[in-house]
């Protein structure tokens, strides 16, 4: 029982539940923006599972295995870039579908080139 309460296990389980919660939001939520948020929750859950594995891989005088931790750092930045791209696509999509009747593009001064 006490083994489950180590941070390396407890937060791993927590991450597993976050994956479920995020996935549920991605599949069922009607608002597309919330689905992007769901993706981020799912990602956070996966990172936590990684972190838990890293924590249990302590060795060679280190508190945790640095390789999964470095992967998670890379992953967080990539997940952010992906969200930014998704959000930009979503904004453009809503601009196009709202402005069907009028000019879809922002009313900026057109340059000649």
């Amino acid at each position: 029982m006490t083994a489950v309460l180590q941070p390396g296990v407890l937060f791993g389980l927590c991450g597993a539940v976050l994956v479920g919660i995020g996935l549920f939001a991605i599949v069922t939520h009607p608002a597309l923006l919330r689905r992007i948020v769901g993706c981020n929750i799912l990602g956070a859950g996966i990172f936590l599972v990684f972190g838990a594995v890293a924590r249990r891989g302590a060795g060679a005088g280190l508190d945790a295995d640095p390789v999964p931790q470095a992967l998670v750092i890379t992953g967080i930045v990539v997940a952010f870039s992906a969200s930014a791209l998704a959000v930009a696509l979503l904004k453009r999509l809503s601009e196009l579908s709202v402005g069907e009747g009028r000019a879809a593009e922002p009313a900026a001064p057109r340059s000649e080139t």
């Binding site: 407890l10 891989g57 904004k91």
Partner: protein, 310 residues
């Protein structure tokens, strides 16, 4: 005591995640998600991963939160809605998600003990670099290829966002500042960046030997730049501006150049010559920090909204 603390953190985290998913109001859900990002930082500290905690707080508090809130403000009242699932459908999906969670949880519990680890291998690699922070050593020496490719992915995402601008204003500047800047925000934008820049440089500097490094420093600098732009103190840069593009490409380009140099002066691609590993890594990190800062800020700022100045 620590066990109680961990349990409380775990319960709080899950409750907050459920709240984010269940909340009806879009804006409230995003604010709760912002809080979730900050809370995850605390969890990472408990997982003995201060480097990840720093990244999570910086990206969660400075990047994702602002990005989503800006999107919500722009989409309010006209966001795309798919048709909601029926009650039965939702139950079925919930059951499926629960099965996936249970499977993952089982995998976590079934992990062999002692767990498989690359710590000794990474630890050997650190010795050759002269770095004190194992995570930095992994990012820039042991698994440097991942980091290089990740930089390229960030740039690709930025190219993707920029290319969403209408043809006529390609290469222009994004629109970031609100129509009217309230006084307290202008005050914040004057007083916070000095702190932020010092903290960013500090993060970069200690990154070699203590938790911190390029990503954390880059995100802090990006947030400060965004703050100044949002308060209207500086205009956002044109996407076509050569200076911006130079900063963006500079980091990965230097990284790649040194990587190829490895063929000539060391063992091969991405290998550092004996004795020069640390100065080379610090040089790469400095250029990468600026690139990350510029790229992340531009990712949040979004595609061009104004025609470029000529």
């Amino acid at each position: 005591m620590m066990v109680l603390l961990d349990l409380a953190l775990a319960a709080w985290l899950l409750a907050l995640a459920l709240h984010v998913v269940m909340e009806r109001n879009e804006r409230s859900a995003i604010i709760a998600f912002l809080a979730l990002g900050l809370l995850l930082g605390l969890v990472w500290v408990r997982l003995a991963a201060p480097d990840v905690a720093l990244t999570e707080i910086a990206i969660g508090g400075g990047g994702t939160g602002i990005l989503l809130l800006r999107a919500e403000a722009a989409l309010r009242g006209r966001g795309k809605h798919e048709e909601g699932a029926t009650r039965g459908g939702k139950l079925a999906v919930a059951a499926g998600c629960a099965v996936i969670s249970a499977g993952l949880g089982f995998a976590v519990l079934a992990l062999a003990s002692p767990a498989p680890t690359l710590a000794p291998a990474a630890s050997d690699a650190i010795a050759a670099t002269g770095l004190g922070n194992p995570v930095t050593a992994v990012l820039l020496a042991y698994r440097a290829l991942d980091t290089l490719l990740e930089k390229v992915v960030v740039l690709l995402a930025l190219v993707g966002i920029w290319s969403l601008a209408p043809d006529g204003i390609w290469g222009g500047a994004p629109e970031v500042a609100p129509a009217a800047v309230p006084g307290p925000l202008a005050w914040l934008a004057r007083i916070l960046p000095p702190f932020g820049v010092v903290i960013g440089v500090y993060m970069f500097w200690v990154g070699a030997d203590a938790p911190g490094g390029t990503f954390q420093a880059g995100t802090v600098l990006a947030a400060m730049w965004l703050l100044v732009i949002m308060a209207g103190l500086l205009p956002p840069p044109d996407a076509a501006s050569p200076a911006l593009r130079l900063v963006l490409v500079g980091g990965p380009a230097l990284f790649l150049a040194i990587a190829f140099l490895g063929f000539i002066v060391a063992d091969g691609f991405l290998a550092y010559p004996e004795g020069f590993a640390k100065p080379l890594i610090v040089a790469i990190e400095a250029a990468l920090t600026l690139s990350v800062a510029a790229a992340l800020a531009m990712l949040v700022a979004g595609p061009a909204r104004k025609a470029p100045a000529r």
